[in-house]
Amino acid sequence: MNMKDKLSKLVEKSQAAYVELRYHSREQKKIEIVRGDVEDLHSSTYSGIGVRVLHDGVWGFSSTSKMDDKDIINTIQRAEKAARITSRLKTQKVGEIGDVIPCSGVFRAEVNDSVTDHPIEKKIELLKELDSEMRNKKSINSAKCLWNEMQDDKFIVNSFGTEVEIHDEKVDFYTIAYANLHGEKISGIESRGVTGGWDDLFAKSTPHEMADKAVGSAQRLLKAEHPKGGPAKVILNPELVGLIAHEAIGHTVEADFVLSGSVAQDKLGKKVASELVTLVDHGVADPHAAGWTPVDDEGTLSQRTELIKDGVLKGYLCDLETARVLEMTPRGNARAYQYSDPPIIRMTNTFIETGEYGVDEMIEETKDGYYLEGAKGGQADANAEFTFGVEKAWRIENGELTELLRGVSISGSGFDVLRSVDAVADNFEFSMGSGYCGKFQSAKVDGGGPNMRCEATVGGK
């Protein structure tokens, strides 16, 4: 009996009102080359089953790495016990979880030239070659190359009759060149992460072109100065637009945060951004976006969610439970990173839609400001207050890019920043695919958009 049939049979063993069994197997390879040495090399396979039940109006979750029927039944019973204990005190019980349409089918990522067909020896050889190339360039004293690939197989069955099979392949790749300026480490980073294979990863730039770009960035930043801090007009590149969409806005419209009092609570139908802004989350917006999620881990098919439409807050990201509470439709945002994680509300591919401005036109119109490119990590809170590191910043003076700056950060309130948007460009790029979101558990996500002009606080040294 195959795993899907086995799980379908075991779903009937539970006394709970709702049962969800998720088998998840992951093959993962990670390579890290630092200054010519293999610093980290992993190859692993792990698999298990996550069990979630809704019993007496309360969720219970448990998991096991053992696949015998007896172990799986024990795990179902542990999940039921967990739910029973919690139900002693919980007053806001989860009611019926709605008229959920069972989902069935086989979903495969679109993979052009699977990375599994490239031997690990060849990948190490390529990364060492790139590392060496970068270190041989002027002013570059260190380099790092990272490779991370994951192949996932999932079977999800639940009491609604859902029977889903998902086969996914995701890969991300980094080239980082380091230069040293009076003891301060300056880095140039080029990275890309996709759903797909070798050809999809390197569709825009070859690995050598990426390494060259990383070197060029580090070399140019060596001559850059720190900016003066303060509020400023800024033009964000697609990566930073994606980061604002995800980190500063996206988390505040996740229904679990909304119900916990995020800044987006009670804002539905209200103007929260410039009318130039339409912000969307969609699991299948692009077959190669890193957050490709055709069906979520509750078995819900992905649908496009317009969170902000022409500046007005239109929706929240929900799972089965919160969709019922908020009277919305679940659209495939309940995700679990590995079998031992319960599904929680997550973004997939989050982006701002294109406008009509040319990027050059946007710069030419700006008398005094900054052009910001590349994200170096970000953090935000439930009030949409955020702070992001920026890789490169150019001063804009009288419509021209002038001085290059380094050590730049931007901060502000996400919604205030979106209210200040006065130009959205006609380009578009998903460019956050090499990163992970870390809300309680990891998740592969993507984000992006066009270039966008707005106001934010620029911080420097």
Binding site: L41, H42, T64, T457
Partner: protein
């Protein structure tokens, strides 16, 4: 099961004439979530696995597996040795580990009362003000066993336990909701979780009134939570032996120099009983002992694991750590403790100061220079210890190694246990007053 698995892996390695070590963990974890004013759901699971490191022809390979799959794990680790560079490393011999208290059976027993314990945080926060919503929170109770063995006959086993809980209290504000949180962690079942909730509640109530960000330079006092995060990202990387050797630390060639005020000690002590990162051995089987990083303001030592110790021509300081059994060992801090003059609160807060309870963006600090620029939220203007109003949109920036020369330390020592991204923060320290911080904001 873990013990048998480790023995099986080591046996297979010995049969093949190879050396290596195996790290195994079995832990039972129970967690409860608090959401929207009540304990919402629970998750109980067992984490179990083996991390296998193999040495073949001077090269190292790493693999991991579940117990029962030892053959696959060993095979995979051996395969990867051919792709790795030559690595010099001497595995330790078995000795008698130091006695370190890391396990309290009351923590394991508390799993049966987990929901009531989580409820105490909800009740505590709600008791402060009728309008407070304990909006989010987590209680996590874990206990388990860690075993490290190697082909030289070393075989150490120790039980550990931890209970950690935190709650965020939300109050409706004029423009946006106000939110503040409090958390506490211990290896013993000795936390008053109602007090944790009350602290979160009182903190959010104190955020109601606003104050202007001062235009002049005044001292900034960081709570243990805020300072712990800053130290983790802005100071501890400079104590990583590999960073020091590669010139990525402000402390390169500075052992013996005065790098802090004479009253400051910074110690890595995994032998401290009940320390959150304490354990009698590290994840490579090196026995723990206290390591002085800064003593009386003088730079003493750095963190080393087995591999870096060879590279740097020194001994491992028992700082080979693994984020999980799925990762090979890497250099990391375990149970850092910072101490100083223990200035009483009323003295530390004398005059006009700014109190910062949490910071955002500490991960953007420069690990090489210790420069930081972070959003401080929540933060208050304080006069003689009394909060005068919350400071909205405050940013603080400075340089942590530089601040060590002038900072003052309070007497409210707290064990901080936090995680940001993949980083686990594990530091014991008091509130710290920084006098050379640049403040800016809206």
């Amino acid at each position: 099961m873990i013990e048998e698995g480790i023995k099986e892996c080591l046996e297979q390695l010995k049969k093949k004439g190879l050396t290596g070590d195996v790290y195994g963990i079995r832990s039972r974890i129970l967690s409860y979530s608090i959401m929207n004013g009540e304990v919402s759901d629970s998750n109980e699971y067992e984490d179990m696995g083996l991390g296998i490191r193999v040495f073949k022809d001077g090269r190292v390979g790493f693999g991991y597996c579940a117990p029962g799959k030892e053959e696959i794990g060993v095979k995979r680790a051996i395969e990867l040795t051919s792709l790795s560079p030559k690595t010099e490393m001497e595995l330790p011999m078995g000795e008698k580990p130091p006695a370190v208290k890391t396990y309290d059976k009351k923590v394991e027993r508390a799993m049966d009362d987990g929901i009531e314990i989580a409820q105490q945080m909800v009740d505590g926060a709600s008791s402060v003000d009728d309008d407070i919503l304990p909006s989010r929170g987590t209680l996590k109770i874990a206990s388990g066993n860690v075993i490290v063995g190697n082909t030289k006959g070393l075989f150490y086993s120790q039980d550990g336990s931890i209970i950690t809980g935190g709650v965020a209290a939300t109050l409706p504000g004029e423009k946006t909701s106000l939110m503040a949180s409090e958390s506490s962690s211990s290896r013993k079942y000795d936390i008053d979780f109602e007090e944790v909730g009350i602290a979160a509640g009182e903190r959010v109530v104190s955020m109601k009134d606003l104050a202007e960000i001062p235009g002049d330079k005044i001292p900034v006092i960081l709570s243990p939570d805020a300072m712990g995060i800053l130290i983790h990202f802005g100071l501890l990387p400079s104590f990583d032996g590999e960073n020091v050797r590669k010139g990525k630390s402000v402390y390169e060639d500075r052992v013996g120099d005065e790098v802090a005020a004479g009253y400051i000690d910074l110690v890595e002590d995994p032998t401290s009983n009940w320390g959150l990162g304490s354990f009698p051995f590290d994840d490579e089987g090196v026995l723990s002992s206290p390591v002085s990083l800064i003593s009386g303001g003088i730079l003493d030592n750095f963190f080393y694991d087995l591999k870096e110790a060879v590279q740097s021509g020194t001994k491992s300081t028992a700082n080979g750590v693994r984020p999980s059994f799925k990762s090979p060992p890497q250099i990391g801090s375990r149970n850092v403790m910072m101490s100083g003059e223990d200035i009483p609160r009323e003295e530390l807060f004398a005059g006009r100061t700014i109190l910062v309870d949490n910071v955002m963006g500490a991960h953007t600090s420069s690990p090489a220079s210790g420069d930081f620029s972070v959003v401080a939220n929540p933060a208050w203007l304080v006069e003689d210890g009394i909060k005068k109003g919350r400071l909205e949109g405050l940013m603080i920036s400075g340089n942590l190694p530089g601040s060590l020369h002038t900072m003052e330390l309070g007497d409210d020592h707290k064990k901080i246990y936090d995680s940001i991204g993949s980083a686990t923060i594990n530091i014991e320290l008091p509130s710290v007053k920084l006098k050379d911080v640049t403040i800016s904001g809206k």
